[in-house]
């Protein structure tokens, strides 16, 4: 395999809560510059998989690599050692456990949005985006308090302004984030994620609650930001239309395990996927 390492490489990730396998032995690759989707019926474990990648949960077993370097790694130990029901219990046992906190992962260059929008509710649109720039600012608490970081602060504000302008949100800059209409809140959340200068953007059901027209706009928007910001995008979605329209490659999971993978056309015709979705899905 001489091709470039994928931006995100997930290997044998398993997440077991008590006796429940929320994610079971999931492996996938997200190559640079592509839009990859993870789909599955409700409760299939998509968000859990996201949370394992972004450090919100510590996976029970498995490895996540970012740009070829191990980012998350764990194996069943402690109480889990006996309870573990998955495979490859020994595969990662010889390497040290890596469990970074979410902010460390964001620092590496992965940003995310949330299924149930999580904007900072007491802040304005402008401040929401500006605050996301905090992580990468060259400053410390003293320089910030005594305003010796004025140049840095100015840069952050200008960049925020530019970002809002690009996302068509500038006219709402002084409004409270939570007072925006739903669709704009979604867009603001993406803008906030972009403010952390990510290489990889994880979108958790970006079209949830949108009507077909808004969904179509969103599809265009996602493709647009991928180009403009030179991003790789990994998303979870319910809306088949959206997924089929923009994805380069699709992984399907049900009950925590992968049931299919392939390009959109192949997935569309895959009997296992249709079975999993029939009667279960909202579509």
């Amino acid at each position: 395999m001489s091709e470039k390492k994928p931006v995100l490489h997930v290997e044998n990730i398993t997440m077991q809560f008590g006796g429940v396998m929320a994610v079971n032995n999931l492996s996938l690759d997200v190559p640079e510059g592509q839009i990859i989707a993870l789909i599955g019926p409700n409760g299939a474990g998509k968000t859990t998989a996201f949370n394992c990648i972004t450090g919100v949960y510590e996976p029970t077993n498995g490895l996540v690599e970012f740009c070829g370097l191990p980012m998350v790694r764990n194996f069943p130990h402690g109480k889990m050692k006996k309870q573990y029901q998955g495979e490859f219990a020994d595969k990662y046992a010889h390497d040290p456990v890596i469990k970074p906190s979410p902010d460390k992962i964001t620092e590496l260059g992965i940003a995310r949005t949330f299924q149930n929008i999580r904007l900072w509710k007491s802040m304005t649109v402008f401040d929401n985006v500006l605050t996301a720039k905090h992580m990468r600012a060259d400053q410390n608490v003293f320089s910030a308090t005594f305003r010796t970081n004025a140049r840095e602060e100015k840069r952050m504000r200008e960049e925020t302004e530019a970002l809002l302008a690009e996302q068509d949100l500038l006219q709402y800059r002084d409004e409270l984030a939570t007072s925006l209409p739903y669709g704009l809140q979604r867009r603001l959340e993406i803008a906030r994620a972009l403010a952390t200068s990510p290489k990889l953007l994880l979108l958790d059901e970006p079209a949830a609650g949108m009507n077909p027209q808004e969904t179509a706009e969103l599809a265009a928007f996602i493709q647009q930001i991928r180009q403009e910001y030179d991003l790789t995008i990994f998303l979870i979605e319910h809306h088949m239309d959206l997924v089929m329209q923009i994805s380069d490659y699709i992984y399907v999971i049900d009950f925590g395990s992968e049931i299919a993978r392939g390009v959109p056309q192949a997935i569309q015709n895959d009997q296992r996927v249709i079975d999993a979705y029939l009667g279960v899905s909202e579509e």
Partner: protein, 297 residues
């Protein structure tokens, strides 16, 4: 050996007794917290007021009348506090309700100060309960022995009440999900009132036992037992009734063992309670029986 027991037994006895009294107060904290997510700072002061009421009522009427009256008035007080000070703030930020609780606590203490003039009031001796008794060479009051038994019996009755009755089930539902229960047609206000009524009933009983053992009531009498009981509730996992009881007994016993360790340690008997609490919280951040709170992401 028997000399050793004779020397050490009193510590254990008073530990169990103190624990039982903390437990009765702690239940009030834990139940209110379970339902309203409110640290009811005024609870310790309700306990103190029950003590004062007893002092004043016994001067006017015989004991068999004043005891039920004390319990009734305390329960009415708890009910009133909830209606006046907490209910109007149901939609306000949590901090405001807590401040209201601190305000009620100030008010009760200051009223007590005003009426008693700040002088310690001597609690009347309740026949039989106040008598001395000797066990294994250690002398103590009968109330010391009665307290743990009564506490366990009351808790048992309370658990039955919550498991079996309709209002008990409603309480459990409200403590699990306040909003949904409201949508499901549970009369939230009567459930909350009931919680305060039960909590204050137990506080009144607790005050009878406590002040019989330590027969002096001052306006700040409720503060320390209140704080300790609250610690006990957190220790056991706030919101959990068995947790509060077990936490109370552990704290009561540990505290008295520390006091028995010698002069360099007695200084830290209160501090030790908190050290124990912090250690527990670090190992189990939500107390022994507390439910793990997970943020849904």
């Amino acid at each position: 050996m028997s000399a050793f027991i004779q020397a050490k037994l009193p510590y254990l006895l008073s530990g169990i007794s103190v624990g039982g009294q903390y437990a009765l107060i702690a239940i009030g904290y834990t139940m209110v917290y379970g339902i309203l997510r409110l640290i009811n700072f005024a609870h310790g002061d309700v306990f103190m007021v029950a003590g004062l009421l007893m002092v004043y009522l016994t001067t006017a009427m015989p004991m068999y009348l004043s005891i039920p009256l004390v319990v009734a008035v305390t329960v009415a007080l708890g009910f009133t506090i909830e209606r006046v000070a907490y209910k109007p703030l149901r939609s306000a930020p949590r901090m405001s309700v807590m401040i209201s609780a601190i305000g009620v606590s100030y008010l009760l203490q200051n009223c007590a100060l005003y009426f008693t003039g700040g002088l310690a009031q001597i609690y009347p001796a309740i026949p039989w309960l106040s008598d001395s008794v000797t066990i294994g060479g250690a002398t103590t009051k009968i109330v010391t022995l009665v307290t743990p038994v009564l506490t366990v019996a009351l808790v048992f009755a309370l658990v039955l009440f919550i498991q079996k009755t309709k209002i008990g089930m409603a309480m459990r539902a409200v403590s699990r999900d306040f909003e949904t229960s409201q949508l499901m047609g549970i009369k939230i206000n009567s459930v909350i009132s009931m919680t305060f009524v039960i909590g204050c009933f137990l506080a009144a009983v607790g005050s009878l036992l406590y002040f019989t053992n330590y027969p002096s009531v001052v306006p700040t009498s409720g503060a320390m037992p209140g704080l300790k009981a609250f610690v006990a509730a957190v220790f056991g996992g706030i919101g959990s009734i068995p947790g509060a009881v077990i936490g109370a007994f552990i704290i009561g016993i540990c505290e008295n063992i520390i006091k028995g360790l010698g002069s360099n340690w007695t200084v830290f008997s209160d501090a030790f309670t908190f050290v124990l609490l912090i250690i527990i919280l670090l190992v189990k951040p939500t107390g022994i029986f507390g439910e793990k709170a997970t943020d849904k992401v």
